[in-house]
């Protein structure tokens, strides 16, 4: 098990390094000069030079790459010379020194994702940590809705195969899969948040944290979560219904199900203990992938409900060519995928002992 984890983690680091390299070179060959964009109309060659120096744009791309890598790596080398790009600045890095000489130091630190070009003075880490929890709450709520309702409907469909109930569930799931999220988002917002807002008490838009109208600071508004979570959950729910149904139908035919009935177990135990656990593997695969991509931000839903999540942030950053934010977010998302994958691999092992 430990060997398995170490192997997985090593692979993950290699994957992340690959992503990082790809993203770095991709964005650096894109047309457009970030320094010029930051200056906007007030073009001035001296200022331009200063900016270029500050962000390291004056260096060749290979050294820019290694400096970026050095900033990201938890183990890094820094100079004590103030004029050098990788100066060990306590405001920038959150570090512990493990080895130092007169001129330089080797430190262990939290990966430094640099600062936003656009939102001056705001670090990428803080932007992510501001927006990601919102996305996480939204994604988690949606996937929970999708899982519970989806598995429930899938089991019902499989048990009452070819009944009216089954056909209805299948019809709804096909509908749910085929409706694009931006459309269902608008529809839900308009219907429940506008037409029926007096009954439901929901508003069309709103984020997890809202500023109190009377100036008493921020507060959590869980009511705002309902509509976006349902909207975002519809498609995974529809897929889970079908996956659970099909996989359970296969399992119901298995010999060990007959053995379970022959033991004298009740229908309920046979179905849920012996059946469902065997049927859940494809569901786990689908859900994990879906959950990870939701964590990367559900752009449409976040935009329409004005939910202040990471997806919305990335789109804004892309529009403004805010490279550090884009690269930081991509890396962060890749990390999430990798972590979710490791968790799922471990989970598979628990669900089906044949895998480990």
């Amino acid at each position: 098990m430990i060997a398995f984890c170490i192997k997985k983690i090593t692979y993950s680091i290699l994957v992340l390094w690959g992503v990082l390299t790809l993203v770095f070179f991709l964005f650096n060959v894109l047309p457009g000069d970030p320094a010029r964009m930051m200056l906007d109309q007030r073009e001035d060659s001296e200022q331009l030079e200063a900016l270029k120096q500050k962000y390291g744009f004056d260096k060749p791309i290979s050294s820019q790459y290694f400096l970026y890598l050095n900033d990201l790596s938890p183990l890094s080398f820094h100079s004590k010379n103030k004029d050098v790009f990788h100066y060990l600045e306590s405001g920038k890095y959150n570090y512990t020194t493990i080895f130092e000489t007169q001129k330089s130091a080797m430190v262990v630190k939290f990966p430094y994702l640099r600062e936003s070009f656009v939102k001056r003075g705001k670090t990428v880490s803080s932007i992510i940590s501001d927006t990601f929890p919102n996305t996480f709450v939204l994604a988690f709520a949606s996937i929970c809705i999708a899982l519970f309702i989806g598995i429930f409907l899938g089991v019902i469909s499989a048990v009452y195969k070819d009944s009216l109930l089954d056909r209805l569930a299948l019809f709804l799931s096909v509908l749910g899969m085929s409706v694009p999220s931006f459309f269902s988002a608008i529809l839900f917002a308009w219907f429940f948040g506008f037409l029926l807002s007096d009954i439901t008490g929901l508003s069309m838009t709103g984020s997890l944290y809202e500023v109190d109208d009377y100036g008493r600071g921020e507060f959590v508004n869980l009511k705002n979560l309902i509509l976006p979570a349902i909207t975002l959950g519809i498609r995974p729910l529809s897929v889970i219904v079908q996956l659970t149904r099909n996989s359970l139908l296969e399992v119901l035919k298995a010999d060990y199900m007959r053995t379970a009935i022959a033991k004298g177990l009740s229908k309920f135990v046979v179905l849920f203990k012996h059946g469902l656990r065997n049927a859940l593997n494809p569901v786990v695969t689908a859900v994990s992938g879906w959950f990870a991509s939701m964590l990367a931000g559900a752009v449409f839903v976040e935009y329409i409900f004005a939910w202040n999540g990471i997806g919305k942030e990335i789109v804004d950053a892309l529009n403004n060519l805010d490279l550090p934010v884009v690269m930081g977010a991509v890396l962060f998302i890749a990390t999430i995928f990798v972590v979710v994958n490791i968790v799922v691999d471990i989970f598979y092992g628990i669900l089906d002992p044949r895998i480990t």
Partner: protein, 599 residues
């Protein structure tokens, strides 16, 4: 009636599919007494499994439905219940508790995600209302009783970690857990090696003696019946054609179908020009009625035996020729990948340094238990597996060194017929196209029209209707599919055929027909066979020479008859002893051990 356990009275079970109703069981009546073993025999589709599943009310519904009759169960306390009239909820109390069942496929009958112990404990906790600790203790005791090695360890292993025989023991422990009065065993040993089968049968007999159970033992193999049954029920197409005392059935079968079943097992003491089949003893007219040909087994087999002198003469000319295939020091290893970057840390030595020759026109038998490497050996010869080391010389050319083009030519000459007639045909291809495909690949005949004609000839040759050209595999029975597999192998005019467990999945009665077909084709087309099987009786019947394999190595090699009569190693001896031969002495022995006098 104090001894009666289970009475079947006019049981009718139907299956409704696509508007047609099939009576899988049609008016079956028999009684099972305490301490008695009833053997229910018949080929697949005879309704024997459906009968037993009906008693447990395990018929999948829809499409199945028990539509008539009674199954009366006499409980320990003297009450009787008609199992077909009680509610599902009441039925649950009988299942596993009073009537327990063991199934055919130990590989798939245990739930893969729970430990063996958990699965046995579950039944104990349900019916005996014991707590977890007591149930665990009882489970481990049961595991000891069914002679599982290291019961405590097996308790916490998952089904995929133990062997097939061990799984079947776990199933038996599960069935025995609540001391049922009736044990239904549905082909419990068919999927196991003969040596394992023997130990399982032995175990069941002992358990029966100890607990005074009634056993319903369902099988297609009369040899197994002879080892343990008291009464025999012979089923054919949903009806009981004959039932009675095991001794009477074996010594004096009345119904032609019973005669056919008894005669079609490959005999061990002689060779026939062709095996008798069921159709030699009976015909079926247009109304589906059975017509007795009125011939006895002894009469029919009288002239079939090949005299020893004729066999010896044939072998003399056979081994005078140059070998067609020479296997020299063949090794096929499978790597075990492990370690940090998936490096190869060890090997499974599937075939470990074996050497033998095959002469043209010969049938060489390859026999051994599952996992001995016989199938890998066959697959290596046609390069479905890559050999690790050694030479395989076919007509002067080393197969291991052939390039892609040479291999194509070689594969036209050497064909393989696989074990599983169900999964080795593409379900989405008509059988005509399946047979025609290899002809197209190898460019045999000029156009598809000619090829189609040839396919029709081949279908006729393997006793199938040429009109079946446009049908799909699922429309055929197991025996018919195996014939299709044979026709496909013949399509490219091969010289050499490897039969890899080609009859293992078939009923004894169908097996006889396929074996006869293989022998006829061999004469007709001048073929050479390597015949691979786990069943020593079949290999012995088919082969000129026999190779016994164990753990990747050759245990013994030589004339088939000589090895059978004078086995050179204890392993071969063990294999031979384990064959359920269905001899009268076997029946006598086990009946007398129960105190029944036989004349």
């Amino acid at each position: 009636m104090g001894n009666t356990l289970l009475e079947f009275k006019n049981l009718v079970t139907e299956f409704h599919t696509e508007g047609t109703t099939v009576k899988a069981v049609n008016g079956v009546s028999f009684t099972l007494n305490k301490g008695e073993t009833i053997g229910i025999v018949g080929e697949s589709g005879s309704g024997k499994s459906v009968t037993s599943l009906s008693a447990m009310r395990l018929i999948p519904s829809p499409p199945g439905k028990i539509s008539g009759g009674e199954i009366i169960f006499h409980q320990k306390d003297g009450n009787s219940t008609d199992l077909l009239k009680i509610s599902e909820e009441e039925m649950r109390k009988f299942r596993g508790n009073d009537i327990a069942m063991i199934f055919q496929e130990p590989m798939t009958s245990l739930n893969p995600v729970f430990t063996c112990g958990d699965q046995v404990m579950e039944a104990i906790m349900l019916h005996q209302k014991l707590d977890k600790k007591a149930a665990k203790a009882l489970t481990i005791k049961l595991f000891e009783e069914v002679q599982l090695p290291t019961p405590e360890r097996i308790f916490s292993t998952y089904p995929h970690q133990i062997s097939g025989g061990q799984k079947q023991r776990v199933m038996i422990a599960m069935a025995m857990s609540c001391q049922p009065s009736v044990l239904i065993a549905d082909e419990p040993t068919t999927a196991l090696d003969v040596t394992v089968q023997k130990t399982i049968l032995h175990l069941m007999q002992n358990l029966q003696k100890e607990h005074d159970m009634g056993i319903m033992f369902i099988t297609h193999d009369l040899g197994v019946i002879a080892e343990l049954a008291d009464k025999v029920v012979v089923m054919y197409k949903g009806n009981i054609v004959e039932q009675g005392n095991v001794w009477d059935i074996f010594t004096n079968p009345q119904h032609p179908y019973t005669k056919g079943l008894l005669a079609c097992r490959p005999p061990l003491d002689k060779r026939y020009t062709s095996l008798p089949t069921v159709s030699d003893f009976m015909k079926i007219d247009e109304n589906g009625e059975i017509i007795d040909n009125g011939i006895s087994v002894a009469e029919f087999t009288k002239d079939l035996a090949i005299p020893e002198s004729e066999r010896a003469a044939r072998q003399k000319t056979l081994f005078a020729k140059e070998p067609i295939l020479q296997i020299k020091n063949l090794k096929t290893y499978f790597p075990i990948k492990n370690g940090f970057f998936g490096g190869i840390t060890d090997h499974v030595k599937a075939v470990d340094n074996i050497t033998f020759d095959v002469y043209p026109g010969e049938t060489l038998g390859l026999v051994g238990e599952s996992g001995c490497g016989k199938t890998t050996c066959g697959r290596t010869i046609i390069r479905l597996e890559e050999p690790t080391e050694g030479q395989m010389i076919y007509k002067g050319q080393d197969i291991a060194k052939m390039n892609a083009d040479e291999l194509r030519v070689f594969r036209k000459d050497v064909q393989i017929i696989f074990q599983d007639p169900y999964s080795s045909l593409n379900p989405r291809m008509t059988i005509g196209n399946a047979i025609m495909e290899p002809m197209q690949v190898h460019g045999i005949l000029e156009n598809d029209e000619q090829r189609k004609k040839r396919v029709e000839e081949l279908l006729t040759r393997v006793s199938l209707d040429p009109a079946h050209f446009y049908r799909y595999p699922h429309e055929f029975s197991g025996g018919q599919r195996q014939r299709i597999g044979i026709a496909r192998a013949l399509a490219v005019n091969p010289k050499f055929i490897i039969c890899d467990e080609s009859v293992s999945a078939l009923d004894v009665s169908v097996q006889a027909q396929v074996l006869n077909l293989l022998n006829e084709l061999k004469e007709e087309f001048g073929l050479t066979y390597i015949f691979i099987s786990h069943d020593l009786s079949v290999v012995k019947y088919m082969s000129d020479r026999m190779v016994v394999m164990q753990a990747g190595k050759i245990e013994e090699m030589g004339d088939a008859d000589q090895i059978y009569n004078k086995p050179g190693t204890p392993y071969t001896q063990k294999l031979i002893d384990a064959i359920p031969e269905g001899k009268l002495e076997d029946i006598k022995n086990h009946l007398e051990s129960k105190g029944v006098k036989v004349k």
